[in-house]
């Protein structure tokens, strides 16, 4: 991130922290598509995207004052998004245990969209085979985050990020290849 955009972001976050609603709206507009993409990569359900993205931004607005370093806003926001998605996936898993015969909790695969390509289908299948933590890692890389930024988001070391990323990419490639070839 170049210094001028960092300065602009810090200024925007500070205004949002002071309760400036236009600043809060500007943040949402700037990040909504990126957060939606991240949520979709994590959950693999397009019908969950808007609801979860909304939850992420509501949490963001409520917790903004707890952000001590506005320059780390993006890492903080995607950590929020990651935790929201992981909570959602855990709740879904619990519901399947306690409501095993509930029709709406069956693993009904999402119908293929009219514009979905084979590559998108294969990618979605491959992602669905990964653990949520690995999905988050790959989604952050696709977001354009550096290893250092990902380490900051996930509160781990750069070395750990590199090792986990290597394994996640290998698993994704294997699952993508197996689906693409069928």
């Amino acid at each position: 991130m170049d210094p001028s955009s960092t300065t602009a972001l810090v200024d925007l976050v500070r205004r949002a922290q002071s309760g400036d609603e236009s600043a809060q709206r500007e943040i949402i507009l700037s990040y909504q598509h990126r957060v939606a993409g991240f949520v979709y990569a994590m959950t693999n359900r397009s019908d969950s995207v808007e609801d979860l993205a909304q939850q992420v931004f509501i949490k963001m607005i409520r917790a903004l004052n707890s952000l001590q370093a506005p320059a780390q806003f993006e890492s903080w926001l995607f950590r929020l998004a990651r935790n929201t998605c992981i909570d959602h996936l855990r709740r879904q898993k619990l519901r399947r245990i306690f409501l095993p015969f509930s029709i709406e909790h069956e693993d009904v695969p999402e119908p293929r969209g009219a514009v979905d390509t084979e590559e998108l289908d294969a990618l979605r299948y491959a992602i669905s085979q990964l653990r949520p933590q690995d999905r988050a890692l790959l989604a952050l890389v696709q977001e354009g985050r550096s290893h250092a930024e990902i380490a900051q988001t996930l509160k781990t070391s750069v070395a750990a990020v590199k090792a986990r990323l290597h394994r996640a990419r290998e698993q994704l490639r294997q699952h993508y290849q197996s689906d693409h070839e069928t």
């Binding site: 609603e21 809060q24 709206r25 949402i28 507009l29 909504q32 598509h33 990126r34 939606a36 993409g37 949520v39 979709y40 990569a41 397009s46 019908d47 995207v49 808007e50 993205a53 909304q54 939850q55 931004f57 509501i58 949490k59 607005i61 409520r62 929201t84 909570d87 959602h88 855990r90 709740r91 969209g113 514009v115 979905d116 390509t117 590559e119 998108l120 294969a122 990618l123 979605r124 491959a126 696709q142 990419r169 994704l172 490639r173 993508y176 290849q177 693409h180 070839e181």
Partner: protein
């Protein structure tokens, strides 16, 4: 074969298409209205544990009262029997 950037771009585009118009306005309205985000796992677990504790307490109190009443009745019955036996001179 690994997924190319085009597949990821398509995934991001599809996600963006799920957001209905005026998404930002709806978020701000919901945040202002105090609409709660989905409860956390911890809060749900705490609610479940508190409910279970209240139910257990209610059962324990009810059971204790029942036992106490039964004990009272049993003692009263025995006292009656003892009194009748005393009257008839059986205990002398």
């Amino acid at each position: 074969m690994k997924p190319d950037n085009q597949a990821w771009d398509q995934l991001w585009e599809k996600a963006a298409a799920q957001l209905r118009p005026n998404f930002a306005d709806r978020v701000l309205r919901a945040a202002r209205a105090g609409v709660d985000a989905a409860p956390s796992m911890l809060s749900q677990f705490a609610l479940g544990a508190a409910t279970a504790a209240i139910c257990f307490l209610a059962v324990a109190v009810f059971q204790a009262r029942n036992v106490h009443e039964e004990d009272k009745n049993t003692i009263a019955d025995w006292q009656q029997i003892a009194s009748a036996a005393d009257d008839s001179g059986l205990l002398q």
